[in-house]
């Protein structure tokens, strides 16, 4: 598998999109640092970029990438390579460059401005973990979509639809639920709804540490009161892991059954 990852990395890293993606994070972090100054506030502003943009870029790039690896797949499946090995190699070849581009793009400006202090190093670490986790989740969703929908354009449309639903549409549902059932205790259902959405999970994960739960909407407040602290963080991370593994397994099943 490592061999496949290595060659797929060569292929992906030579594509300009990944480099542009890294440069984008570099620019936005730099800009925010110049505007906001202190790094915890920069990180907080970055939070919104992370929870909206990482899912969007990953799911769109991932769907295109998976359709684009068809050539590679056809070539390698005629070699002594197992389908599951190839699948894991290709998946790592998607997640690793995107995660690295994000992590490097965010870290470089912060390090250059010498703003990583004892108070912000934990936040930065959490931000990086969340970003990488969201990359993994939306890569798995992208791979599942691309594996099930052969048509590139339809796949891309579906990917955008899923992103819209999980980011904007979901907030509307949340809001609707809160308004409709305003006179009943809602902590339990809202907690469940949060776990049903990886974007919310990522947001909650960050919000719990930033201690600005109220600013980040109703779910953040609920989550902090219900779970708070370490247990909440672990539960959110577990939820994100499930969001990567379950679609990933379905995608693997589709990959094993496909004809090339």
């Amino acid at each position: 598998m490592l061999k496949i990852v290595r060659y797929e990395l060569q292929n992906v890293l030579r594509s300009r999109y990944v480099i542009a993606y890294g440069l984008f994070f570099l620019l936005i972090t730099e800009t925010l640092l110049r505007l906001a100054g202190s790094s915890p506030r920069t990180l907080l502003s970055l939070l919104n970029v992370v929870v909206l943009l990482i899912p969007l870029v990953t799911i769109v790039f991932g769907t295109i990438y998976w359709h684009g690896t068809r050539e590679f797949t056809e070539l390698l499946l005629a070699q002594p390579v197992r389908r599951s090995t190839l699948f894991h190699g290709l998946f790592a070849g998607l997640v690793l460059p995107l995660s690295a581009a994000f992590a490097i793009g965010v870290t470089i400006p912060l390090a250059l401005h010498r703003t990583i202090g004892p108070d912000s190093i934990g936040l930065l670490a959490l931000m990086l973990v969340t970003g990488v986790a969201l990359t993994g989740v939306f890569a798995a969703l992208a791979v599942l979509i691309a594996g099930l929908v052969d048509d590139r354009l339809k796949g891309l449309g579906l990917a955008l639809g899923v992103w819209l639903l999980l980011t904007l549409g979901y907030d509307a549902i949340m809001l609707g639920v809160t308004v409709w059932f305003a006179d009943r205790p809602l902590e339990g259902p809202l907690l469940a709804l949060t776990f049903a959405n990886p974007v919310d999970l990522g947001r909650v994960l960050l919000v719990l540490r930033f201690d600005v739960a109220a600013l980040m909407g109703y779910t953040g407040a609920v989550f902090q009161r219900q779970l708070g602290g370490l247990i909440g963080t672990l539960a959110a991370l577990g939820g994100l892991a499930a969001w990567m593994i379950i679609p990933g397994l379905f995608a693997l099943r589709a990959f094993k059954r496909n004809d090339y």
Partner: protein, 246 residues
């Protein structure tokens, strides 16, 4: 070397192969011939495991092919249309495949013969279709596989490359290697093949040696013999019409 029994495959509503039996004899060149969309490529891909069959079974050297991958180290495959990772160059591909298939002795004859040395370091996306096809051919032979599956090997090649490739196929045949060559250009197969399998509408209509085919049809060339095989259906139809008219 390969023995397929009752192999069927359906793509959506289209029944591409229906209960195909085929034996590939070691040390011989077998041509799989048939019109477009007769299932030649699908049959090859089922042997390679690229396409999953719906029914039947395929044995490779007595071992059933069922999702394992090791047997493919003994097969060299030249697909009909070469599709390569865009950002890599041919040298990367050779290194990658060597990595996957082991560092045995390599056969770089075709790389030299097809004058590929100069383009080995050029990204594949900027190469012309013909050049990619030449690389495709060279890669199939590179690891001295026991079985070579060549799907329309000369399609898209210029006459010079095409004849160089044919020479190579003949040399491999002399050396006692097993080859499967798919084509619908029958005249070019004439000099290369020992055995013929004729596919029509997803079924094997004839399978045997070239001599048997010519004897049974009473024709001198492969092209006419296959035409003869396709004719009876048409003839019967005309005969019926004539009889009905009289």
């Amino acid at each position: 070397m390969i023995s397929a029994r009752g192999v069927s495959k359906r793509f959506g509503r289209l029944q591409v192969l229906s209960s195909v039996d085929l034996d590939i004899v070691p040390g011989q060149v077998t041509a799989i011939v048939g019109p477009n969309a007769s299932g030649k490529t699908t049959l090859n891909k089922i042997v390679l495991g690229l396409v999953k069959r719906d029914a039947g079974h395929v044995l490779f050297d007595g071992q059933p092919i069922n999702g394992d991958a090791a047997y493919r180290s003994r097969i060299g495959y030249m697909p009909q249309i070469a599709r390569f990772p865009e950002n890599l160059c041919a040298d990367d591909l050779v290194r990658m495949l060597t990595d996957l298939r082991g560092y045995g002795s390599r056969d770089e004859e075709l790389i030299d013969a097809l004058a590929l040395g100069a383009v080995m370091r050029t990204p594949l996306r900027v190469l012309s279709g013909g050049t990619r096809q030449r690389i495709n051919a060279a890669l199939a032979f590179l690891f001295r596989p026991e079985l070579l599956i060549l799907d329309e090997p000369t399609a898209g090649l210029d006459p010079i490359s095409s004849s160089l490739l044919k020479d190579k196929i003949l040399r491999e045949r002399e050396a006692g290697r097993t080859l499967i060559v798919t084509s619908h250009v029958l005249s070019e197969l004439e000099e290369m093949v020992d055995r013929v399998a004729f596919l029509l509408d997803g079924g094997i209509r004839f399978s045997g040696t070239k001599q048997e085919l010519k004897q049974s049809t009473g024709e001198r060339t492969l092209e006419r013999a296959i035409a003869q095989l396709m004719r009876p259906v048409a003839l019967d139809a005309t005969a019926l019409k004539v009889r009905a008219a009289s």
